[in-house]
C-alpha cells in the first residue's frame, strides 16, 4: 500500500495545476448564469485554494484503479465516495451550493444516480466479457481434450 501514496501525490500534483482553469470556468458560469459581476479578494483566494485541493484529490484518487487486488466496483465506490465528499465540501465552502436539506438532497441524488448507472454498466460489461471468454475457453478445452 505504501507505494501508492507517492503515486497519489504525484498524480494529485499533476492534476492540481488544472485547478485554477476549472475555477475560471466556474466563475464565468456564475457570471453568465447568476449575474455575478464582482468577487472579493478573499473569495478568489478561497476559490483557487479549494479548487486546487479538489483537483489534487480527484487526480490523486485515480491511483485506486492501479491497486490490482481491488475489484473495479470497489475502486469505483471508493473513488466516487471521496469525490462526492470533496465536491460537496468545495461547493459548500465557496457558497455554490445553498446550505439546507433540499440542495444537499438534489446534489446527492444526482451523484448517486450517476454512480448507480456506472455500476450497472460495469456489471453488465464484465458479465458479457466473461460469458464470451467462457465460450472461447470451452471451445479451446474441447479442441485440446480435457486433462
Amino acid at each position: 500500500m505504501k507505494k501508492y501514496i507517492p503515486e497519489f501525490i504525484r498524480r494529485g500534483l499533476i492534476a492540481c495545476g488544472f485547478g485554477p482553469m476549472v475555477l475560471v470556468v466556474c466563475y464565468l458560469t456564475l457570471q453568465q448564469q447568476a449575474g455575478v459581476q464582482v468577487l472579493r479578494v478573499s473569495q478568489v483566494c478561497l476559490g483557487i485554494v479549494s479548487i486546487s485541493a479538489l483537483a489534487f484529490v480527484a487526480g490523486g484518487m485515480n491511483v485506486v484503479y492501479q491497486i490490482e487486488r481491488l475489484p473495479l466496483m470497489a475502486a469505483v465506490l471508493i473513488h466516487g465516495g471521496v469525490l462526492y465528499l470533496s465536491y460537496l465540501a468545495t461547493y459548500l465552502v465557496n457558497g455554490w451550493l445553498k446550505r439546507g436539506i433540499l440542495p444537499l438532497l438534489v446534489f446527492t441524488v444526482v451523484f448517486v444516480v450517476g454512480y448507480l448507472a456506472a455500476w450497472a454498466v460495469i456489471c453488465f460489461t464484465t458479465k458479457r466479457k466473461t460469458e464470451s471468454l467462457n465460450e472461447v475457453l470451452k471451445r479451446k478445452q474441447q479442441a485440446g481434450g480435457e486433462n
Binding site: 490490482e68 487486488r69 475489484p71 473495479l72 466496483m73 470497489a74 469505483v76 455500476w119 460495469i122 456489471c123 464484465t126 458479465k127 466479457k129 466473461t130 464470451s132 471468454l133 467462457n134 472461447v136 475457453l137 479451446k140 478445452q141 479442441a143 485440446g144 481434450g145 480435457e146 486433462n147
Partner: protein, 147 residues
C-alpha cells in the same frame, strides 16, 4: 505442417515447433518432450509427505500464507520450494497468470465468474476460486479472443 528431422550426433537434442499459435498439437508435443526429459512435474510437500505433482494434475500455483502453494485436482494444497517467478519460465504454456500471485492451469479452469463487486473470479474444477486481476483479465482476453 511440415516435419523436419536433423540428425547431428554432436548437437544438444531439442525439439522446436514453429506454429501460428498454441494448439492441442503443440500442447501434446510439449507434454511429450517434458515427460521424456523428466521436466513435467514439480515436487510438492504436505505435512510429512513429498509428492511428484505432474503439471497436468496441478490446478493452480498460488501464494497462500506467504508460501508458494500448488493446488492439485483433488483440491489438496502442496508447498512448493521454488519461487513463483522462477516457476513461470519452466511451466508449460498452458499455465497463465491470473493475478500477481497466481499461475493457473488453463485446462483446469472450469469457468470465469463475474462477481457482484465488478471483479472476475476463475473457478477451477476442484472448486477452488481465485480472483482475476483486471490487467491479467485483459491479457487473457487478448490471448483467447485476440482483443
Amino acid at each position: 505442417m511440415k516435419y523436419k528431422l536433423i540428425i547431428d550426433r554432436d548437437a544438444e537434442e531439442s525439439v522446436t515447433v514453429v506454429a501460428r499459435g498454441p494448439s492441442a498439437l503443440t500442447q501434446q508435443i510439449e507434454d511429450l518432450v517434458r515427460s521424456r526429459s523428466g521436466t513435467d512435474c514439480l515436487l510438492g510437500y504436505r505435512e510429512d509427505e513429498m509428492r511428484k505433482l505432474p503439471f497436468s494434475e496441478i490446478e493452480c500455483i498460488t501464494i497462500l500464507d506467504r508460501k508458494v502453494t500448488a493446488i492439485d485436482t483433488a483440491g489438496n494444497h502442496y508447498r512448493i520450494q521454488e519461487r513463483l517467478r522462477d516457476l513461470e519460465p519452466i511451466l508449460p504454456a498452458g499455465f497463465i497468470r491470473i493475478n500477481k500471485s497466481t499461475l493457473a492451469n488453463e485446462h483446469r479452469i472450469l469457468r470465469f465468474d463475474a462477481v457482484f463487486s465488478g471483479g472476475v473470479d476463475a473457478v477451477f474444477r476442484c472448486g477452488y476460486r481465485e480472483y482475476v486481476s483486471r490487467r491479467c483479465f485483459a491479457e487473457i482476453r487478448r490471448r483467447y479472443e485476440g482483443k
